[in-house]
């Protein structure tokens, strides 16, 4: 029998950082003051913040131990649906760490920042070519920030046309950030259901689309991992009534080189550099959420914009229809460097292959597990597939139990209980960087867990057992919030 990756080993306990503090320690040596001390007025000065006092080794050991309680892509397979947890190439870190990039001051002036501007310009061009759009802004700091940016542009477009609209159509398969982003623009969400095959029916859109509706937000491929094959008809319906189509490109990893969203009726699309373009998720960020637009929305892009004149790059802010600024400087430049390095490394063929293999991996898992777990929408998958716990109900085993048991096997669980259209969803996105052997091991683990659900359900209820802590009481955390020590 081939071993599963999960094993127990020595895990260190580690106290809270301030519990290690001893008065008089400091982990940083400062140069001796070389100028005279100039005390501020006493009434301006406060008490020194009560930070821990540690030696350098105290700090190193503290964070090393903490890191060992975490699971990352480098630790093992992380098939978290909708998050595209692909390998984060190490060379990208080297590129972002170059002194000329990491040390660059944002206000050094265009003349002295030509390398940074050139990189931003070239990345914008590459993303425009990958997505089939006219122009790209790199300013949004994350996917949801990109959504907000896109929705602000739709809002500005309608304002410019003289009549603001009140509503926006959002399908039930949308990411939760979609309605929240629309609300920030003052739009009321009109929620519609996807059809029995898991995709949108143009008639459903036609029934609610009117001249008081700003447009529709569509994720394609959607969160069931299915391609919205009626997208063109839907876009025509929305455009006929003067609305615009927002594309959530979080799932772009499925279609690079296959479909260009700019060619199929979508007016504005955000990308997640921390998903499709391999930049690390960092335990929750920083990400980057560039937004691509066609001609219609180009005048509304946020400022500053990078432009190229002959061989010189500069920022311009004089754009009367722009939605304005959404980041203090130019967005997450350090993340842009990593994504640019990735695109250069992959090239056109590499990116297309990445999408093809991501889709192959997902379909392989879907076919291999569909007798083991229930598959509510048995249709050709794109880059992810969504199962649920229907088959395990008779043993009183839930998706959560199976997810927790997967931890003991050494895998990060898939996304659970999302999308909301599938009760007890178990959403698997392997990405293209997982090998057949690793995927086979994952499949065996899930099958073994499904068997345990029948034979030894208690083992699942008690899972995980090999982790630093076992299941945590989230109700207690919310009922009596303790947010600081």
């Amino acid at each position: 029998m081939i071993q599963q990756p999960g094993a127990s080993g020595l895990i260190f306990n580690e106290s809270l950082v301030w519990e290690k503090s001893r008065k008089g320690r400091c982990a940083m040596s400062l140069p001796k003051p070389d100028v005279e001390k100039s005390p501020l007025d006493a009434d301006l000065i406060g008490d020194a913040p009560n930070l821990p006092e540690l030696s350098e080794l105290d700090v190193v050991r503290h964070y090393t131990r903490l890191s060992q309680w975490n699971f990352g892509v480098d630790s093992g397979m992380y098939p978290l649906g909708s998050c595209t947890m692909k390998y984060n190439p190490k060379t990208n870190e080297v590129q972002a760490g170059r002194q000329g990039f990491a040390g660059a001051h944002p206000l050094a002036g265009d003349e002295f920042s030509q390398g940074a501007l050139a990189l931003m310009y070239q990345l914008e061009q590459s993303l425009a070519r990958i997505t089939g759009f006219q122009a790209v802004t790199l300013q949004p700091a994350a996917g949801a920030h990109g959504e907000l940016c896109g929705m602000l542009m739709i809002h500005a477009f309608h304002a410019k046309n003289g009549r603001q609209r009140a509503k926006i159509i959002i399908p039930d398969t949308a990411h939760g950030t979609n309605p929240a982003s629309a609300t920030l623009c003052g739009y009321e969400s009109v929620n519609i259901k996807s059809g029995p095959e898991g995709i949108l029916d143009p008639q459903t859109v036609a029934a609610v689309m009117d001249e008081d509706t700003a447009g529709i937000m569509v994720t394609n491929p959607n969160t069931l991992g299915l391609f919205e094959s009626n997208i063109k008809e839907i876009a025509d319906i929305v455009h006929a009534k003067g609305g615009l189509v927002y594309g959530d490109g979080a799932n772009m990893n499925a279609i690079m080189g296959i479909v260009k969203p700019g060619e199929i009726g979508i007016d504005v699309l955000h990308l997640n550099l921390h998903k499709t373009f391999s930049t690390p998720h960092g335990g929750g960020g920083p990400g980057s959420g560039p937004v691509a637009v066609g001609k219609t929305l180009e005048p509304f892009l946020p400022v500053p914009r990078v432009v190229k004149e002959l061989d010189t790059y500069r920022f311009i802010t004089d754009r009367p229809d722009s939605i304005g600024r959404i980041h203090t400087f130019y967005g997450h430049f350090g993340i842009m460097v990593r994504a640019y390095a990735y695109i250069l490394s992959m090239g056109a063929k590499g990116l297309t292959d990445a999408s093809r293999l991501a889709v192959l991996n997902a379909n392989y898992i879907k076919e291999s597990l569909k007798g083991t777990l229930n598959l509510p929408y048995d249709r050709p998958s794109m880059h992810e597939c969504v199962f649920n716990d229907e088959f395990q109900k008779e043993y009183h085993i839930t998706t959560m139990d199976m997810a927790k048991r997967l931890l003991d096997y050494g895998f990060h669980p898939p996304t659970v209980y999302f999308p909301l259209v599938v009760e007890g969803a178990f959403m698997v996105e392997p990405t293209e960087t997982e090998s057949k052997e690793d995927i086979d091991q994952f499949i065996r683990a899930v099958k073994s867990i499904a068997q345990e659900a029948k034979d030894n359900p208690e083992q699942l209820k008690k899972a995980p057992r090999l982790t630093k802590v076992t299941r945590l009481d989230e109700v207690l955390a919310a009922r009596k919030p303790c947010l600081r020590g």
């Binding site: 400062l30 890191s67 602000l152 296959i258 998720h281 203090t328 293999l357 379909n363 919030p481």
Partner: protein, 445 residues
């Protein structure tokens, strides 16, 4: 391609299982008319060493590729980053993890961010801090939205004209679609926000003041708290230089309801302005209005302490259109960096660094005054200050950058057209007396 593990045999045997004849067939579910007719028009992939050459060529076109002396701040500061910080934050368990949705295998991130939240509340004197925001500008815009949503008929936010210009622009972008209005509070000839101007302002849901302000001056926050109370509006404090609060009285001690700040100074590279670190904190009363993730302490099934994402009912994945914000990914890894930095410098270190920043800035101001610069908009400051430069300075400044890699101040005229010939200077612990004497000699008219 080295990131793609599939061999030809792997592909063939996997296609057999999926029932497709080729990789292209996997996309049969997409109607042909929706598929692109051309591939992606970008060059072939580069090997790692070709990539290195290409990227180094670009990086070398930034003046930052050389060692330069930085006398500009204005929201991005040159501070010393101890070697252990990049070393520790590069641990892939931190870097390659996602948001801690599975707490049993995310205790490292969770405890680290819980400690971050705690240290931020200590630094700012507030009850609650979030797990981070994108940057100060977006955190401040969210704080303004909190005030406006609670403001009822009061639909205006009063923002100091000495809040960072970019931050004011972001606020405008964020509040405009909902029909809210931003009014700017003028500044005085002492380079401080004019609290008296607030008296005439009506319909104000919140007052936002930056301290140290964009001129580097320390605001009299007490006066704004009084004004906010008189108007029954929320008091919001922002800052771009987090190290100032190693020395200054914190916003909490002046009764701030919400605090939005930039944490880039806490061990994070300038990186051409991002990613930085948005700090957002509030009083206990504001806890449920705060946008973004919060980490809380709890117990596991065996009674051991542990940490989880909590109060998620404020957030978009549960509340959807009724969420307090749309923020999902934040700047978590930079929050962890800041926590490492704060643990490294500690209580005595932060005080000493802050004091050194102030001392150097005072010395620089003296030097420049002696070289013919005029102190103006003059008030107690932290590590930045404004000076009116002699006529010949603009040319000299350019020359200094090109020939000596010295960034001598930021021209304020693009941001404040009335301040022609005025420059914002910054001195941090990274500049030496020698650097400052050199600058003074070079610019002497």
């Amino acid at each position: 391609m080295r990131y793609l593990p599939h061999t030809r045999d792997d592909i063939d045997s996997m296609l057999k299982v999926t029932g497709h004849a080729s990789l292209d067939d996997l996309f049969n579910c997409i109607p042909d008319h929706l598929k692109t007719k051309q591939g992606i028009d970008i060059p072939e992939g580069l090997s790692e060493w070709e990539l290195n050459t290409h990227m180094e060529a670009l990086a070398s076109q930034n003046i930052a590729c050389k060692t330069y002396t930085c006398f500009i701040g204005a929201g991005s500061y040159d501070h010393y980053i101890p070697a252990i910080i990049p070393y520790l934050i590069s641990r892939s368990e931190f870097m390659t993890a996602y948001t801690p949705y599975q707490p049993e295998v995310s205790q490292g991130t969770l405890q680290g961010i819980y400690e971050f939240q705690t240290m931020v509340t200590e630094l700012l004197g507030m009850d609650v801090a979030t797990a981070s925001h994108y940057d100060c500008g977006t955190a401040l815009a969210e704080a303004c939205l909190i005030a406006l949503r609670k403001g009822g008929a009061n639909r205006k936010i009063a923002v100091s004209s000495l809040v960072h210009p970019s931050h004011r622009q972001i606020i405008q972008t964020y509040i405009h679609p909902a029909g809210y209005e931003m009014v700017e509070i003028p500044y005085t000839k002492e380079g401080l926000t004019d609290a008296a101007a607030l008296e005439k302002m009506e319909g104000i849901a919140g007052i936002a003041v930056q301290s140290p302000n964009v001129f580097g001056n320390i605001e009299n926050l007490k006066a704004f708290k009084t004004a906010a109370d008189a108007k029954n509006s929320l008091f919001i404090v922002s800052f771009t230089e987090a190290l100032a609060y190693g020395l200054l009285k914190n916003p909490g001690s002046f009764g701030a309801d919400l605090v939005a700040g930039e944490g880039q100074s806490l061990g994070i590279a300038k990186s051409f302005g991002g990613p930085g670190l948005g700090l957002l904190a509030g009083t206990q009363k504001q806890m449920r209005n705060l946008p973004g993730r919060l980490i809380g302490k709890t117990k596991d099934a065996n009674g051991a302490d542990g940490f989880v994402l909590t109060l998620a009912t404020r957030e978009q994945h549960i509340r959807r259109e009724k969420a307090s914000s749309n923020i999902c990914s934040n700047n978590g890894l930079n929050a962890m960096t800041a926590a490492m930095y704060l643990a490294t410098v500690g209580k005595t270190g932060i005080r000493e660094i802050a004091q050194q920043n102030h001392d150097k800035a005072v010395y620089l101001k003296k030097c420049l005054t002696a070289s013919g610069f005029e102190p103006i908009l003059d008030s107690p400051f932290f590590n930045e200050f404004v000076m009116k430069a002699p006529q010949s300075f603009a040319e000299k400044r350019k020359h200094l950058i090109q020939n000596n890699c010295i960034f001598a101040g930021l021209d304020l005229e693009p941001y404040y057209p009335e301040l022609k010939g005025h420059y914002l200077f910054c001195a941090t612990e990274t500049v030496s007396k020698k650097d400052m004497d050199h600058l003074a000699k070079e610019v002497k008219s």
